[in-house]
């Protein structure tokens, strides 16, 4: 994306965002609460209007398209708060956006618990199960780029670690690109190749995950950790 500016009706929440995720690359988007991480992901996905700037996916323009068209170009979002459909069973949640060639069994192999709970309604899942379901649901659309918005939020450390391992596995198995917005620095640095740091709606730092992980001063300055 280039020079992306977007917001919710009032003043722009994010301004002039330049961000690139290469094929097969994992990129972390860091920043404090309210820095504009979710806004960035939602506007890329077409759920928020883009005021200026451009978004492209695999070289195809996606700027200003409705979200369902962006999704069909190969972008899928694991949203903040997971947003599982409560009145749908686990299987129905998974197959709702399934594209041709997507197999339920592939996702069930990644998350055996989703096979066990196939007929349970989304409203009756634990937080960890919901997060796995949200990731599985996104994978069923056969994305080229997976956006993950705070996947660690509200989850037990074990589950967070499980999710970290899973992202690693997804990367090894295909050429899926991943953009992950996180507050959990350990998780972000464990899965990402490069990082961007957002502050008050603007990119203030860009670099490799390894370098950012070693630079305590930088972390303290931008994230307060």
């Amino acid at each position: 994306m280039q020079g992306l500016t977007a917001g919710y009706g009032g003043p722009a929440v994010i301004r002039n965002i330049d961000l690139r995720v290469g094929t097969g690359e994992a990129v972390a988007l860091l920043g404090r609460n309210g820095a504009g991480k979710t806004t960035t992901l939602l506007s890329v996905a077409g759920a928020l209007p883009i005021r200026s700037g451009a978004v492209a996916l695999d070289g195809r323009p996606a700027t200003g398209l409705p979200s369902f068209r962006v999704a069909r170009l190969g972008l899928s979002l694991v949203p903040q708060g997971r947003r599982i459909f409560p009145a749908l069973s686990v299987d129905e949640n998974l197959t709702l956006g399934a594209r041709r060639g997507a197999a339920l069994s592939t996702v069930q192999e990644l998350f055996p618990v989703l096979a066990e709970r196939a007929r349970v309604f989304g409203s009756n899942l634990s937080g960890g199960e919901q997060q796995m379901l949200a990731i599985g649901r996104a994978l069923m659309t056969q994305p080229r780029l997976l956006l993950m918005d705070e996947p660690s939020e509200g989850l037990a450390p074990q589950v967070v670690q499980q999710i970290g391992e899973l992202v690693g596995r997804l990367r090894r198995e295909g050429d899926l690109s991943i953009l992950i917005a996180e507050q959990n620095l350990a998780l972000a640095l464990a899965v990402a190749d490069r990082v961007y740091v957002l502050e008050r709606g603007e990119i203030v730092h860009e670099g490799t995950a390894a370098a950012f992980g070693e630079d305590r001063a930088l972390q303290r300055r931008y994230l307060g950790v």
Binding site: P66, S67, F68, L77, R83, L88, R99, R137
Partner: protein
């Protein structure tokens, strides 16, 4: 028996109304007009061709088409504007439709006969039933069963149930909600049109014939829960029975009984019987 037949007709309206309100967030006051137009379509077809069965096919089709055009041309532009704009627009439509049928058919009241084979009455266990009552009941039960199966088991049912709780997320998964909305609106209109056709031999056909049914259908939607086929079924049954019980024993209070029932349910279950959200 009358209560059940009435419940059947109310259900044909309430099912569409509930799903349109639940998924699209559109309160469509013109939904009763679809019922009225269906009845007039039945009258027009039967008086020209003599075939009720042709009317049963053409009526819902025509009304569904009208619904599709309304959604594509006008309602679509108002989704961002909130309920007031939609209520005004749909109320405007009710006035337009009433005037249209008045100018085409005149203000007088019409009636059509039940199709051959469905006229007449029979007795079971000392009670009187007309064959046509049983037909109405059969049609609404059939439609109810089909809707329930579609709602619970088909992909389109899953899309609609998902849309009731989180429309944006449905779009993010690559589903074209605009198309879903047009089809939902048209299908709901066609169902109400079907209700009108089926009701035509049972009631008097006149421009204001939808008043009572629409109010009862709205009560059913609130009582059953927004965006729920199960709720529309259970609510219609309750309301139909309460209303005809009321008309039979407490003539003056029949509508009051209906609203008292709604209030009682809402006190116990603010989302309605089967509601997913408030």
């Amino acid at each position: 028996m009358n209560g059940l037949v009435f419940a059947g007709l109310v259900f044909l309206l309430a099912a569409g109304l509930s799903v349109i309100f639940g998924v699209m967030d559109v309160l469509n006051l013109a939904h009763g007009s679809f019922y009225m137009l269906g009845a007039y379509a039945a009258f027009a077809v039967v008086s020209r061709t003599g075939s009720f069965w042709l009317a049963l096919l053409l009526g819902p089709l025509t009304v569904g088409l009208i619904g599709a055009v309304m959604e594509l041309v006008l309602f679509r532009r108002l989704y961002q504007r909130g309920h007031l704009a939609q209520v005004l627009l749909s109320f405007g439509f009710t006035l337009v439709f009433v005037d249209l049928v008045r100018s085409w058919f005149g203000p007088r009241t019409y009636g059509i006969a039940p199709p051959p084979g469905l006229g007449g009455a029979f007795h079971v266990a000392g009670a009187n039933f007309t064959k046509y009552d049983v037909f109405i009941l059969g049609v609404s039960l059939l439609v109810g069963a089909a809707l329930l199966v579609g709602w619970r088991l088909l992909k389109v049912g899953a899309v609609l149930r998902a849309g009731v709780s989180d429309k944006e997320m449905v779009g993010l998964l690559g589903i074209d909600l605009g198309l879903v909305f047009t089809l939902t609106f048209a299908f709901g209109a066609a169902l109400a049109g079907l209700g009108g056709v089926v009701a035509a031999p049972f009631v008097a056909i006149h421009p204001a014939m939808d008043d009572n049914v629409l109010i009862l259908a709205l009560v059913v939607v609130v009582l059953g829960g927004l965006g729920s086929i199960e709720g529309a079924l259970a609510g219609s049954l309750l309301i139909g029975l309460a209303y005809s019980f009321g008309t039979f024993y407490l003539q003056e209070f029949s509508i009051a009984i209906v609203f008292a029932l709604m209030a009682a349910v809402l006190v116990l279950r603010p989302r309605g019987l089967f509601g997913i959200r408030t």
